[in-house]
């Protein structure tokens, strides 16, 4: 069967050219000045503590992603819990209904919120027709958070749900037999057992939220730029690829570090809820 090893060769070549080399290029560019010389300036420009403009953007990205993740968790956990309690047949249909919007193109989903949230949009037209005060949220950080929550909520619900349905019923019965009431069973048994699902839910929500540039651009109006917008801007508009690459390196390190932390929790379990199909 050793002969089959050769089958990995095409991939090895492909990965060398299209996966490894590009990453090396990002590192190379990040240490390059305008004239191609070696420099640390791209990084010092970002970590400039006397003018923390760019650091503030990084902080804003992390902050908004964190809030979005927390909201997703608060909304998603009860939903996953309710779903997991349902009889099998209904459960299948309902979980299908949760996956369904997720398969819609996410630009369309974000666009849907544009039409809803504008001052002359559907929600506000409706509110003002009823004589109620309008909700001026478009182009604010609130709109970006809403966009994140809407797009990534299913990513939170599903992994938690996947873990919850696997919890052995006998464990719950044992807890009840030992006199634990509903809330004790939840706190002492169900929640701790569902932690792996929560962790993968958090990483599946936080990662895309912290790196997005589309949601902030469409719903945030340009002034609520995130690190993703900044990188996009360097590559598409100002053409300063060195600085853009440096910020990508920073983003990569940030995500790998976060992954590492998540991984430690996930290793304690079989890592359920990764693939959704």
């Amino acid at each position: 069967m050793k002969k089959f090893r050769i089958a990995a060769l095409p991939f090895a070549v492909y990965a060398g050219i299209f996966i490894v080399a590009p990453i090396i290029l990002i590192f190379m560019y990040s240490f390059q000045g305008a004239g191609g010389e070696f420099t640390l300036e791209n990084f010092t420009r970002f970590f400039n503590f006397s003018d923390p403009t760019y650091l503030k953007v990084l902080w804003r990205s992390i902050y908004l992603a964190a809030i979005s993740t927390v909201i997703c968790l608060l909304l998603g956990y009860p939903m996953a819990y309710i779903l997991s309690k349902l009889p099998n047949r209904i459960r299948g249909i309902l979980s299908f209904l949760f996956v369904l919007p997720m398969w819609m193109n996410f630009l369309l989903r974000t666009y849907a919120w544009m039409t809803l949230l504008e001052r002359t949009g559907i929600i506000n037209t409706f509110l003002s027709n009823l004589g109620l005060p309008t909700w001026d949220i478009m182009y604010t950080q609130g709109a970006v958070i809403l966009g994140n929550v809407y797009n990534f909520l299913p990513f939170m619900i599903l992994p938690i749900y996947n873990v919850l349905i696997k919890i052995d019923k006998s464990v719950l019965e044992a807890s009840a037999d030992l006199g634990g009431n509903g809330s004790v069973t939840f706190r002492k048994v169900i929640f701790p057992l569902s932690i792996p699902g929560v962790i993968s839910g958090i990483s599946m929500t936080f990662m895309p939220a912290v790196t997005t540039f589309v949601i902030s651009k469409l719903l945030g109006g340009g002034q609520n730029a995130l690190i993703g917008d900044l990188i996009e801007n360097q590559f598409k508009v100002t053409g300063d690829w060195g600085f853009g690459s440096a910020m990508s390196v920073i983003l990569m390190v940030l995500i790998l570090a976060a992954m590492q932390i998540m991984q430690r929790y996930e290793d304690e379990n079989d890592g359920s809820g990764g693939v959704l199909l």
Binding site: T120, D136, Y139, G222, K236, V237, T238, G239
Partner: protein, 341 residues
């Protein structure tokens, strides 16, 4: 399983065949501003010249420049503004035009030809021109808007759309401060930056083409806008008013150019010539509402349409952008900081 696989391969082959057959006709790639061409013009050109046009849009001159210079992509015809044309000529990015292939240039107005940024129109042929001004919704403001300073009036908090474009927004701030919009002085640029940061709480969003729909819908009280877009939306919502601020404004020209490494130079020249035909200029003028360079079309306009054509005393106060050379980078960085601040 086998069936699925075979089916996939067959579809893949079919599609790639379909792809090949269309490669036989010459292809011209045109890179233009968003929403900046009349309906059906491209199709008409394709039909008349038996070719295929790939049409791509950009939002600002800087996008286009970065895409062309850094990220390779094959483009033949581009339509930048004057300062960008100046820069691209200086950097040797543009091909010299063969005027014999563009006889329709004779139909264009002297007003738009032979401008400083490209004397003798060696590299570029006028496409559209116009000014920058303020469009406001008279039901949403108190009195009249007359000055760039009104964009800093605190009563319009969250009611202003600014442009997501470094030169245009910086120029607004520089004009408000009474400084030269083509300044290369660090201190002036910093003052403009501070002015724009001060304005941020009043700004609802920094927009591109979507500003048209937003102003029609009444999303905000006022917006900095190009003259043609203003003319366009004035027809849709009668509460809107367009003004050229008293401090003066920017007069701009968007010209068609051919890139030096274009492999379809002759077809590109045919395209430029086609765009200068009277009928096409009329379609474009009616659709995008900018000021036409075509003398006959210009002469045929009625009083009301001529409203967006600046008269002599306005022109006197107008300025034209110049290439900023090395300072362009400083502008870019200042602008990025304004946006993310």
């Amino acid at each position: 399983m086998k069936k699925i696989f075979a089916l996939t391969l067959i579809t893949a082959m079919l599609f790639s065949l379909a792809g090949c057959s269309s490669e036989d006709v010459p292809t011209l790639t045109v890179y233009n501003w968003g929403d900046y061409i009349g309906d059906g013009v491209i199709e008409q050109f394709e039909e008349e010249f038996g070719c295929k046009v790939n049409y791509e849009m950009f939002d600002q001159n800087e996008d286009m420049y970065t895409k062309i210079t850094k990220a390779g992509g094959e483009y033949d015809v581009v339509i930048p503004s004057e300062y960008m044309i100046e820069r691209m000529i200086n950097e040797g990015l543009l091909a010299e035009l063969n005027h014999e292939n563009i006889p329709n240039m004779a139909n264009l107005s002297d007003y738009v030809l032979d401008r400083d940024f490209d004397l003798g129109n060696k590299y570029s042929v006028p496409y559209m021109w116009g000014t920058v001004g303020i469009v406001y919704n008279k039901t949403m403001v108190n009195g009249e808007i007359t000055s760039w300073n009104d964009l800093w009036d605190p009563q319009y908090e969250g009611q202003i759309f600014m442009m997501n474009s470094v030169r245009d927004s910086m120029a607004v701030a520089l004009m408000t401060l009474g400084l030269d919009p083509n300044t290369r002085e660090q201190a002036d640029i910093e003052a403009a930056q501070a002015k724009l940061i001060e304005q941020k709480p009043l700004v609802l969003a920094y927009t591109g083409d979507e500003v048209k729909d937003k102003m029609i819908a009444g999303e905000a009280a006022m917006a900095v806008i190009y003259s043609g877009d203003a003319a366009n939306i004035l027809m849709e919502n009668e509460d809107l008013v367009y003004v050229l601020p008293e401090e003066g404004t920017n007069l701009w020209f968007d010209n068609m150019c051919i890139l030096k490494d274009s492999e379809q130079k002759e077809l590109a020249e045919k395209f430029i010539n086609f765009m200068c035909e009277k009928e096409i200029c009329e379609i474009n003028r009616d659709y995008i509402c900018y000021n036409t360079p075509h003398q006959e079309v210009w002469d045929s306009l009625d009083e009301e349409t001529l409203h967006t054509y600046p008269d002599a005393d306005v022109i006197e106060k107008c300025f034209i952008y110049k290439d900023l050379g090395e300072m362009a980078k400083v502008y870019d960085e200042m602008w990025t900081k304004i946006m993310v601040n």
